[in-house]
């Protein structure tokens, strides 16, 4: 037995576990566990919205249906005739006419989310209090323990003063809980029998949870989970009671229908997945807390504690349900001493699954809420992309950026994780609660979305990884400053939001054109998209960021003729691809039956796109997957350069030169953005070639390859006739 009264906190010792720097900025959000908790909370809240929607249909469904039918009748009478303009006008009329009932639908649906949120937030007070009561009677620990906690807090950057209390004699594990603003560390009596260093290891582990900012998120997630179950039951109970007293039908007759069966299965599935995900994140946060608690400390006390713990063999079911990793697994992670932890396949699967659910549900709600306003359609889709993109940018982006080791980007891409991300998104789309009763068809075209969404999001994931590798290769360390994290978050947000929006739009066009005209659909959602401007801005931002990273490392952008540097071949490749594309475009004048100057402009834009595509292909051929980072700035540069040269050819002829310049920039870049996203996933699987002594020769051949590819692809486009052209009645022309 140890006399703890005579002992103080152990002195700081050099840590054998010094790990790469991690952020103290927005710790709860930039922690991968925190991001997954946020995703989980969002999914559970949106499931509440679906319960609200069913309640709306039960109570107000008849008035909603009659109002909608009336609006359709009125539209037919107000706008007679056949044709696209008439259809459009009728649709606009119906949208405006049904706005009140649609907004009512959105509000009632959101009230379901609100109830879940309200109960979840209330549980932040109730659940910890209940736990504290069961763990008590609680007694404030002596000043020595408060001092030890304060010391640990100051070392970990925790500004709040946390009170340490003793639990009951039956308490066997330390934990941290309490209502918001009054978090307490509850220690078991047995801690007093431990050697001081081991007692401090436990205290620091608990403090690490506070430093990671995940304590409130854990309780909120648990609270929202508990709140959702009864909220999901409300519609079923209501309909059963309603039919019992109004139609005199028994609950089995009412709830035995396929809708309620499907609803029950999906609800159970959601709650089970949420519970398992929650357990998984609980396990992840234990690893994070272990490693965070070791910063600046020796790992021996924690090692001895873990080594003394039972580590029984667990079945897969027990492992899935466990709230903690086994002691052996924790010991292994502590000994590897790598923070941040690499992103696991399960982490990514969870992120993809939940993101798909969030996106679909938000889009659904936004479409209903924005009906008849200027925000309907594109903005509603953009909102869902923005919400989901934010969650993905943390759940994938930040986790991968933090997990990318500063090894010069030598390790392969996280290919398994990319595949897991791609595979989990369709599952999320199919399995979500909101799909109840609409398994057959969905207006936005679910089946195309099941193809485009995983491809685009995994593409964004690959590009994000490429940027992270560029960051650590050029910058040396993971983003450490507040601005560094803001930049990382921002660029990931742009990547994922853009990818989601492009995926939604491509799916819509694929739904309209069908798979046989997929190329048309890709052009309509790329170069000819209504969102081409924002897509171009996004790609330009990402490209400039990548270029900044390239300049930051080498300090100077290598130019042709400059002394040999690592990136000289990139500049030559950009120039060669742009030059060859322009030359091929000018050398061959295609015969197009209609369109005239508009067709010529669009061919110019396609030629510029080809320049960017050829640059991408040449860099990938030279460096394999590792070329993706350089391609992120080189391909847009090449396309912009080619577009600028072709625009300059008609400089004296343009009536609106600035508008034309914008067209020559946005069209190629928006198409290139789509192609980059589509090709990034397969590109990540390319092997990285080792050229050995022939490296300089191969690097020298890259511009040649880019030029050949650019010229060949431009000629192919010009030779394809008008299949890639979109010729509206009016347009900007020389």
């Amino acid at each position: 037995m140890t006399d703890t009264a005579a002992s103080g906190p152990p002195a700081l010792s050099p840590s054998p576990t010094d790990s790469p720097p991690t952020s103290r900025h927005w710790p709860g959000v930039t922690s991968s566990a925190g991001a997954r908790y946020l995703l989980l909370v969002a999914v559970l809240l949106l499931a509440g919205a679906f319960a609200g929607q069913i309640m709306h249909n039960q109570i107000l469904g008849t008035s909603w249906a009659s109002a909608t039918l009336r609006c359709i009748d009125e539209a037919v009478r107000a706008v007679p005739g056949q044709g696209l303009p008439q259809d459009f006008a009728r649709n606009t009329y119906v949208q405006e006419c049904t706005r009140p009932v649609q907004q009512r639908l959105a509000l009632v649906s959101l009230s379901g989310s609100f109830v879940v949120l309200l109960l979840g937030v209330a549980s932040l007070w109730v659940l910890p209090r209940r736990l504290m009561r069961r763990a008590g009677p609680l007694v404030t620990a002596p000043a020595e323990w408060q001092h030890r906690a304060a010391l640990a807090a100051s070392e970990m950057g925790v500004r709040r003063v946390l009170v340490v209390v003793w639990g009951s004699v039956w308490l066997q594990e330390a934990f941290t809980a309490g209502r918001p603003g009054r978090t307490r560390i509850v220690l078991p009596w047995g801690v007093r029998d431990l050697p001081p260093a081991q007692a401090d290891a436990i205290l620091r582990h608990e403090m690490a949870h506070v430093a990671a900012g995940d304590v409130t998120l854990v309780w909120l997630t648990r609270g929202v989970w508990w709140a959702l179950a009864p909220v999901l039951l409300v519609p079923a109970v209501t309909i059963a009671v309603q039919d019992r007293y109004q139609d005199h039908r028994g609950p089995i007759a009412v709830l035995g229908t396929s809708f309620w069966g499907e609803y029950g299965v999906r609800a159970l599935l959601l709650l089970t997945v949420a519970a398992l995900v929650s357990q998984h994140v609980l396990r992840s946060r234990e690893h994070e807390a272990d490693l965070r608690s070791l910063r600046g400390r020796t790992r021996e006390p924690l090692e001895s504690l873990l080594a003394g713990q039972p580590s029984p063999a667990l079945s897969w079911m027990d492992r899935a349900r466990a709230t903690h990793p086994t002691a052996a697994r924790r010991l292994e992670a502590v000994r590897q001493a790598r923070l941040p932890l690499p992103v696991s396949l399960l982490d990514v699967t969870v992120t993809g699954l939940l993101s798909a659910m969030v996106m679909y549900a938000v889009a659904d709600l936004a479409q209903a809420g924005f009906t008849g306003t200027s925000l309907t359609g594109g903005p509603a889709q953009l909102l869902s992309a923005l919400v989901t993109g934010s969650l993905l940018s943390v759940g994938w982006g930040i986790a991968v950026w933090r997990g990318t080791p500063a090894d010069g980007g030598a390790r392969p891409f996280p290919r398994g994780a990319l595949l897991a991300l791609a595979a989990s998104m369709p599952v999320g789309l199919v399995a979500q609660l909101q799909s109840t009763g609409v398994s057959g068809a969905v207006p936005s075209g679910r089946w195309p979305l099941i193809v485009t969404l995983p491809l685009a999001v995994a593409g964004a994931g690959a590009l994000s990884s490429a940027l992270a590798r560029l960051w650590v290769r050029r910058g040396g360390t993971a983003p450490g400053s507040r601005w560094g994290w803001a930049a990382a978050l921002g660029v990931n947000l742009v990547l994922f939001t853009g990818a989601l929006r492009i995926a939604q739009e491509s799916a819509l066009f694929l739904h309209v054109t069908g798979w046989r005209k997929a190329v048309e659909a890709l052009a309509l959602s790329g170069m000819y998209s209504a969102s081409a401007d924002s897509t171009t801005l996004g790609l330009a931002g990402v490209a400039l960021f990548a270029l900044w990273l390239a300049l930051r490392g080498d300090r100077t952008l290598p130019v042709p003729g400059a002394p040999a540097t690592a990136g000289r071949y990139v500049v030559w490749t950009v120039a060669a691809a742009a030059g060859a594309a322009v030359a091929a475009r000018w050398a061959y004048e295609p015969v197009v039956p209609q369109g005239g100057s508009m067709a010529a402009t669009q061919f110019d834009c396609w030629a510029a796109t080809c320049a960017g595509l050829a640059t991408l292909a040449a860099l990938l051929a030279l460096k394999g997957a590792s070329g993706l980072g350089d391609a992120l700035y080189a391909a847009p540069l090449s396309a912009t350069l080619a577009g600028a040269v072709m625009w300059a050819r008609y400089l004296t002829s343009w009536h609106h030169p600035l508008q034309a310049a914008a067209l020559y920039t946005t069209n190629p870049l928006s198409q290139l953005a789509l192609l980059l996203l589509a090709l990034a996933l397969p590109a990540a699987f390319l092997p990285t070639p080792t050229h050995g002594p022939a490296r300089r020769w191969v690097a020298g051949l890259t511009p040649v390859l880019a030029a050949v590819l650019a010229a060949a692809s431009v000629l192919a486009v010009l030779h394809s006739g008008d299949s890639l052209l979109f010729l509206p009645p009016t347009g900007t022309a020389p």
Binding site: Q172, E173, Q309, H324
Partner: protein, 200 residues
Amino acid sequence: MFRWRRAGQPTISIPVPDDNADVSSVRGWEVFTRFSREVFISAHPEDGAEFDPILAEFRKDPHGVLRSRQLRPKVGSGVIVQSAIPYVLPLVSLLVGAVAERAANGALDVISDAARRKVTRLLEQRRARPAASATPRNGETDVAAATAIAPTAGLDPDEERALRMLLTGWAAQMRMDEAKARELADTILDVLRQRGEQAP
């Protein structure tokens, strides 16, 4: 989902001291209280003040230890740190019950009659002196006061081993952590031995 973990219910029965026994008998509360206090203070020197409330709780519900849940919250650290405090009184009670031949569970077969007699004598040294209260006089320790009454022979190594095994087994049946159980058994034997070693 989010619940306290329940362990399997132990089947052990804890013999309690006899309320009607003579104050100097090992069957009574007096000897039990003195001995368990010594063990408690030896195991938890800084928690001496906790002994009386815990004893009061034990008197009220001696089998509470068997029903109590071992609290491991889902949001806990995952490192089990058990306190021996709730197990001291039940374990001492089992030992005292065994030597007073009230224990079941085959305990009587494990320790020999000779060992039982020795332990009885060692425990009897804790009984109150006829003319004085159990409280030691000023300047005199509790141990010294009791030793002065009737020195006796200690346990031999085989007897200690058997007793340790018995105590550890009981503790394990009460869901005590193995290492902690061994530690507490050693403490009990240490306290017991203190009297034996002081015997001629």
